[in-house]
Amino acid sequence: MRGLAVFISDIRNCKSKEAEIKRINKELANIRSKFKGDKALDGYSKKKYVCKLLFIFLLGHDIDFGHMEAVNLLSSNKYTEKQIGYLFISVLVNSNSELIRLINNAIKNDLSSRNPTFMCLALHCIANVGSREMAEAFAGEIPRILVAGDTMDSVKQSAALCLLRLYKTSPDLVLMGEWTSRVVHLLNDQHMGVVTAAISLITCLSQKNPDEFKTCVSLAVSRLSRIVSSASTDLQDYTYYFVPAPWLSCKLLRLLQCYPPPEDGAVKGRLVECLETILNKAQEPPKSKKVQHSNAKNAILFEAISLIIHYDSEPNLLVRACNQLGQFLQHRETNLRYLALESMCTLASSEFSHEAVKTHIETVINALKTERDVSVRQRAADLLYAMCDRSNAKQIVAEMLSYLETADYSIREEMVLKVAILAEKYAVDYSWYVDTILNLIRIAGDYVSEEVWYRVIQIVINRDDVQGYAAKTVFEALQAPACHENMVKVGGYILGEFGNLIAGDPRSSPLVQFNLLHSKFHLCSVPTRALLLSAYIKFINLFPETKSTIQEVLRSDSQIRNSDVELQQRAVEYLKLSSIASTDVLATVLEEMPPFPERESSILAKLKKKKGPGAVSVNELEEGKREGGELNGGGERGGDSSAIASTPSPSADLLGLRAGPPVTAAAPSAGSLLVDVFSEAGVNDDGFLRFVCKNNGVLFENQLLQIGIKSEYRQNLGRMYLFYGNKTSVQFVTFTTTVTCPGDTLVLEPLIEGGAQVQQVINIECLTDFSDAPLLNIKFRYGGALQNLTLKLPVTINKFFQPTEMASHDFFQRWKQLSLPQQEAQKIFKANHAMDTEVLKAKLLGLGMALLENVDPNPENFVCAGVIQTKAQQVGSLLRLEPNAQAQMYRLTVRSSKDTVSKRLCELLAEQF
C-alpha cells in the first residue's frame, strides 16, 4: 500500500505536533470524501483508507467513522482485505448494536466457510474483542469446532484460546458440558501447538470446576514426563535454545497447581520423578551460553518450585528447592536474584522449609543493603519479613530499621508497618518493642500511620511492666530539638498517663515534663494540640503542683479564645473541671485508662488492606497459615487459651477487608483519644461460622497451637484434614483429641496417623440433616500445665450440597412448588461487610449451591439452587438473596423440601454477609 507508506512518512516528517494534526485532518477529510463519494471504491482503496484510519487511531487520535467500510471489508473474499477489516474491528470496536450484528454475521460466515485461514481470522477477531455479544453469538459453536475430528490444527489452537477469552468475560455463557472429556483429551494431541493452546483453556476451566476436569492431572503428568525426559532435539521446532517445549512445560506445571497432589501412587511417583529431574537439570552445566537458554530452563524450574510449594508435602523437594533458590540469591543475573527472593518468600511459610530459608539471612540482608535496583531491595525486605521468627527478630528488625533511613519513598509506609508488626509479634521484652517503635517514628515519622502509634499506646497501657520504661524513653526522645509530631502525640499520651512513674527523678520532674511538652505545642497541628490539652488536664490530676501553671496556660487567650472550636472547648472545659471538681472527682474522671480489649492488631489489618483483596490467593490454606502466623498479636501473651479462641479469622478477614469500613474510620480523631481508639466495627469472632462458605483455612490459633483445616465433600461424604501446628519450641506431651457428635446425624471416624501428630483425618458421613456441629476436644500438656480446648468443627449442612443448574422457568416452577409456609425461612439483616457483588458471588459459590445467572428479573439479586445429600434422603433447596444497597440490608429467603433445613441454612447464612 504505497499510499499508506507515503502518509506514514509524511507524519514522521512533521516538525511539530501542530503540523502533524494538520496533516492528519487533511487526510481525514480526504478519506471522508472518498467514503462519501459517488464512485464506488474498490476493495484495495477501501483497505488502504481503513488502514490509514487505523494508523491515525493508533497515533492516539479519535476516529469516528470508517467502521462501516471496515465491516464491508469483512465480507471480501480477498484475504488481505478481510484481514485489515478484522484488524480494524479488533482495535476499534465499539458496542454499536447495528454494527455488532453485521460483524457477527460476517464472522458467522467465515466460521462456516471451512476455509481454515478465514476461520482463524474470525476466531482471532472474537478472541480480540471478547465482548458479551460475541459470547452470546458464538460460545455454543466454538467448542464444537474445537473438538471436531476434521478441524485443522491451527483452527483448533485458535478455537481453544478464543473460548478461553470468552470464558473469562462471560463464564456463564461458556458451557463445556458434554465436551469436557474431549477437551481434556486435547492434552494427548499429537500436535504440540494444539496442546500448548488447549492447556491454557483447561487450566482456566479447572480452576473453576476442578472436579469436572480432574482427569487432566494424570494426562498432564504423563505429558510432562515425556517432555522432561526427552532429549533436547526430540521436539524439533518446539525446542527453544536446547530446552524442550519450555512454554508447554510451564503451562503443564501451572495446571497441576490447580489440584492437590495426585492420589494415585503411580502418577504421583512419576510427577515427583519429573520434579526431581527438573531440579537435577538445574545443576547440569548449561548447553548454551545464551540468556534465552538459561531463562527458558529456569522458567520451568521456578514453575516446578511453585508446584512443590503448592503441594507443601514433600520435605525433601522443598529443601532442595530452597537450596536451589539459595544459589540464585548470589547469581550475577539480577532477574534470577529477584525471582529467587520472591519465590523464597512463599517457601518461608512452609513448615518444612522455614528453617532452610532462614539459613540465607545474611545473603538477604546483604541484598537489602547492596542491591542497586529498588525492586530487588523490596523483594529482599519482603523475604526478611517472611523469614522472621523469634530467633532472628531482633536482627531483622534492626536491619529493616537501618534500611528505612535510605529506603525508597514509595515503599516506606509499608516498611514501617512491617517493622511495627514484627516488633510487636516477636517482642520478648517490651522495652525493645517501645524502643523500636520510637525509632520508627524518629527515622520515618511521616510514614508512621495512626495505626502504628495507636498500637504502641495500646500495648503500653496493657502492660504495666513497660510503662515506666516507655515514659522514660519518650521523655528522652522529646528532648531532641526537632522531633516528629507523631512523637509528640505518643509523648503527650504516655506522659499524661504514666508521667508519674518518672516524676521522682528531678531531671524529669512534673514541671520539667510539662514544659517539655508545652515547648512543642505551638509547632503542632490542631489534633495534636487537642491531645496535648488532654494530657495537661491529666497532669493536673497526677501532679497537683502543676495545677496553677497549667491553669494559666488554659486560661490564656490563645487557648480559651482559640478560633478552633475543639481546642477552645477543651480549654474551657478542662479549666472548669480543674477549678470546680474536687480532687476525688478529678481522680475518677481522669483515672488511668483501662486495658484495651485484645483484638486483631490494627496495623496488621492495615497492611493486609494495603495488599488489597488480591491477597486472597488460590491456596487459601497456605494464605491462612501465613496470615495466621502474623495474627498472634504480642499483647495476647498473658491470656489463657480460652480467651484467645476468639482470634479473628485471618482469611475470612482478608475477604472482608474490602468490605469492612476502613480501620481508621472507627478510630476517632486523635483529639478524642480519651475513649477507646481501637474499637473496630464488629469482627465476627466465631471460628466456626467462618467456614460456612469455605473449606480451608485456620480454624484456631493461640500462642501455642495453630489448627488448620482442609476439607472436601462429595455427596453425603466428607473428609476433613486437621493440621496441628506446635508454635512453641517445646514438645507437647500427651496430645489427644476426641471428636464427638451430638445426636446420630453424622458418623465421624477420626484416624490419627501413627506417630505423627501433625495431621489428622476425619471421615464424615451425613446420615440425615442436622443443626448442631460436632465438637473437637483437644488436651495436651505444655510445660507441665494441662491445656484443654473444645472447638466446634465446621461441618455444616450446606457442605453436602450438590449444585443444581436450572433455567429461570424451572427455578420459579420449583419455587412455587415449595410454597408451604414451614418450607420457607426468611431473614432480614444488616450487612456486616460492604456489599460487593464479586465477594457475594464468591461466598455463595462457596456455599455449595449453583449460582444461577439471569434467573431473577432483578439483576441485583442472587438466586441459587442445590440438593443436600444425606444418607436418609435428598433435600432440594432454593435460595434468594436480595441486597438493598441503600439500606445496607439483605433479605434472605430459603425454601427447601424440609423445614429444618430451610431454618438452619437461614441461620448459617445470616452471619455471612
Binding site: 499508506l4 484460546l161 504440540m192 501447538g193 500448548t196 527453544y240 540468556v291
Partner: protein, 178 residues
C-alpha cells in the same frame, strides 16, 4: 497476559495489544504511566517490577522497549522469552527487523502477534509454524505483499534502523526476502 506494549526510547507507542477490556481513557493512562516508569529505569536493572496488582516484564531491543503485564501467578521468565520469540518472529519475517519496519508495517506486526499469542496466551510457539501461517496468508494475496522498507523520506541513519536483535549468530546472515 493482560497487555503488551511496544514503545520507543522517546516514549512513542509503536504497538499496543490489550487482552482485557479497558476503556480508551484507561488504556491511555496505563500507557503513559508505564512508559514513564520503564523509561526511568537504568539499563542493568531487573526486567520485572510490580505495578498496581500486576507484574511488568520488559526488555529493551535496540531502540524499542517490549513490555508485558502479567498476573500474579504467571511466570516472569517465560514471559521474557515470549517477548524474545516475538522479536525472533519479526526478525525472521522482515529480515533483520528494526523499529522502522514496525512503524511502516504495523499491521503485519499485529498479524504476527495474533498468530503467536491469542487472548494473552501462547497459541503456537514453533517459529516455523507461525511463519508458515503468515507466509501462507501472504501467498493468498492477489499481488505479492510488498514490504515497505526505509522510504527515502527518512534516509538518515538513526536508532530506528538499528536491528532489534543483536544476539543473532553471525554466520546465519538473514536475507531480506526482497
Amino acid at each position: 497476559m493482560q497487555f503488551m506494549l511496544l514503545f520507543s526510547r522517546q516514549g512513542k507507542l509503536r504497538l499496543q495489544k490489550w487482552y482485557v477490556p479497558l476503556s480508551d481513557k484507561e488504556k491511555k493512562k496505563i500507557t503513559r504511566e508505564l512508559v514513564q516508569t520503564v523509561l526511568a529505569r537504568k539499563p542493568k536493572m531487573c526486567s520485572f517490577l510490580e505495578w498496581r496488582d500486576l507484574k511488568i516484564v520488559y526488555k529493551r531491543y535496540a531502540s524499542l522497549y517490549f513490555c508485558c503485564a502479567i498476573e500474579d501467578q504467571d511466570n516472569e521468565l517465560i514471559t521474557l522469552e515470549i517477548i524474545h520469540r516475538y522479536v525472533e518472529l519479526l526478525d525472521k519475517y522482515f529480515g533483520s527487523v528494526c523499529e522502522l519496519d514496525i512503524i511502516f508495517n504495523f499491521e503485519k506486526a499485529y498479524f504476527i502477534l495474533d498468530e503467536f499469542l491469542l487472548g494473552g496466551e501462547a497459541q503456537e510457539t514453533s517459529k516455523k509454524n507461525v511463519l508458515k501461517a503468515i507466509e501462507q496468508a501472504d501467498l493468498l494475496q492477489e499481488v505479492r505483499h510488498m514490504k515497505q522498507r526505509l522510504p527515502a523520506a527518512s534516509s538518515r541513519r538513526s536508532d530506528l534502523h538499528k536491528p532489534l536483535r543483536d544476539d543473532r549468530p553471525k554466520h546465519t546472515h538473514t536475507q531480506p526476502d526482497h
